[in-house]
């Protein structure tokens, strides 16, 4: 009794009754109350005292309120599909379970009154089982949802990666071709030096006399005005032949560009022409030139 007195003096039962305790502390008090009748009795007294205090402050709800509240409450507990569907499922399960009981083996003679509690406990067991299963399903559903959204994310990542790979492979293929051109002895490198108009300009033409293939490789060219493009010309016995226009990428020196085939040439030159190129070179705009 002594140590209970200390426990009572701590005020924890009051805190429990007033709802001040954490769930863990509540459970502790409940366990103690279940184990010790003295504590159970003391707690019941505290609760009764507070209940008495509450009841002393009773106020009959104002006229009209009771009808409204009761009507709304009865409507809410009777109707709502969301809440009753679970109920119906539980009842359905209980109904399936219940008829089994009377048939099951020996039936005590006093079974009649016991039957209702038995089917109720079956119903409770079924409800608990169903609830657990619903909780389990909810958990699985949540997991499944998050797994499937993770899968979508991974698929996106994967397709992005595949696109990147395609781009990289294409670049690699371009580089391989360029490498083949550069390492091929059949290609003749023609250095194109800047003219007076652009002394620092510098480019190369790689020309294969046997296959007639022409590649251009820009080192440095002056920036172009809007609407203009560099055009490569081959001069065969003094006669200019169009070898195609340079793309922006090529003109800024990003890599080799495969130009039009040229059957025969002694000199290559580049001029600035209106976008799309010209039929005849504008000689005044010649930027670089070089002989084979």
């Amino acid at each position: 009794m002594e140590n209970f007195q200390d426990y009572f003096e701590s005020g924890i039962l009051e805190q429990y009754a007033l709802g001040e305790l954490s769930p863990a502390e509540q459970a502790e008090v409940e366990a103690k109350a279940a184990a010790h009748p003295e504590i159970r009795e003391e707690l019941a007294q505290v609760q009764a005292a507070l209940g008495f205090y509450a009841e002393a402050h009773a106020i009959t709800p104002p006229a009209g309120m009771s009808e409204r509240v009761l009507t709304n409450v009865l409507a809410q507990i009777a109707a709502p599909a969301a809440n009753t569907s679970l109920r119906n499922e539980v009842d359905a399960v209980a109904a399936q379970v219940a008829p089994v009981a009377p048939e099951a083996g020996v039936r005590p003679m006093y079974a009649a009154p016991a039957e209702a509690p038995a089917s109720r406990s079956w119903a409770i067991a079924a409800s608990v089982a169903l609830l657990l299963s619903l909780l389990g399903n909810a958990l699985l559903y949540t997991n499944w949802k998050s797994a499937s959204s993770e899968l979508v994310a991974l698929q996106n990542e994967n397709s992005r990666f595949a696109t990147t790979t395609t781009v990289v492979e294409k670049k690699l293929d371009d580089l391989r071709q360029e490498n083949q051109v550069l390492r091929n002895d059949e290609f003749h490198a023609v250095a194109l030096a800047g003219t007076k108009a652009a002394p620092s300009a510098h480019a190369r033409v790689l020309f294969n006399a046997a296959t007639h293939k022409v590649y251009v490789d820009v080192r440095s060219l002056p920036a172009l005005p809007a609407g203009k493009q560099y055009q490569l010309w081959a001069l065969d016995k003094g006669k200019p032949i169009d070898a195609g226009v340079l793309t922006v990428a090529t003109a800024t020196g990003e890599g080799l560009q495969h130009m039009k085939d040229i059957a025969s040439a002694q000199t290559f030159a580049m001029t600035v022409e209106p976008a799309g190129g010209s039929v005849n070179p504008t000689l005044t705009t010649m930027t670089v030139v070089g002989n084979i």
Binding site: S10, Y53, S66, I124
Partner: protein, 186 residues
Amino acid sequence: MSDTSLISLPPAAEAELVRRLQARDESAMTLFYERYSAALYGVIFRIVKAEDESEDVLQEALVKIWHAFASYDPSKGRLFTWVLNICRNLSIDKIRSRQHRVGSRTQGLDDSLTAQRQAAPTSFRPEHIGLQEITKKLVPEQRQIIDLLYFEGFTQSEVAEELNIPLGTVKTRARTAIKVLSKLIR
């Protein structure tokens, strides 16, 4: 409500009501309402202090009670204690969310006590058990502490801070007050 107080409602009558409610007998809800609504509304109104919001809380509490009946365990306490706690918790949640909305966490003590004094006389029934007796038997300091704990949702530490007295004093006064109340029941 005749002369049967809820805390002394005959165990058999309470057990029968619990049985019907747990069996989800909707007509028992009307019976439950008739028996308990005044006590529950009184507590809700003294915590929430506004009639329309109290009505909302009462309704919410009754629906919640209905759905939670399966989890009510008579061995852990009286039905009245259990439903009172549900109503108190909902009411305290209500005023906390309101204080949160307004931005000031705790109402000043003077304000809350004044509000309570103004709220109290509206429609309590002086013929009802014990309130005058309680007023006579509890010293003002005890009553103030019980009111703060019970109707304002303060914790014992918050009461100590609010009244600027040691926590031990709060505990002692609360315990003494509760002892006085439980003597009045008999």
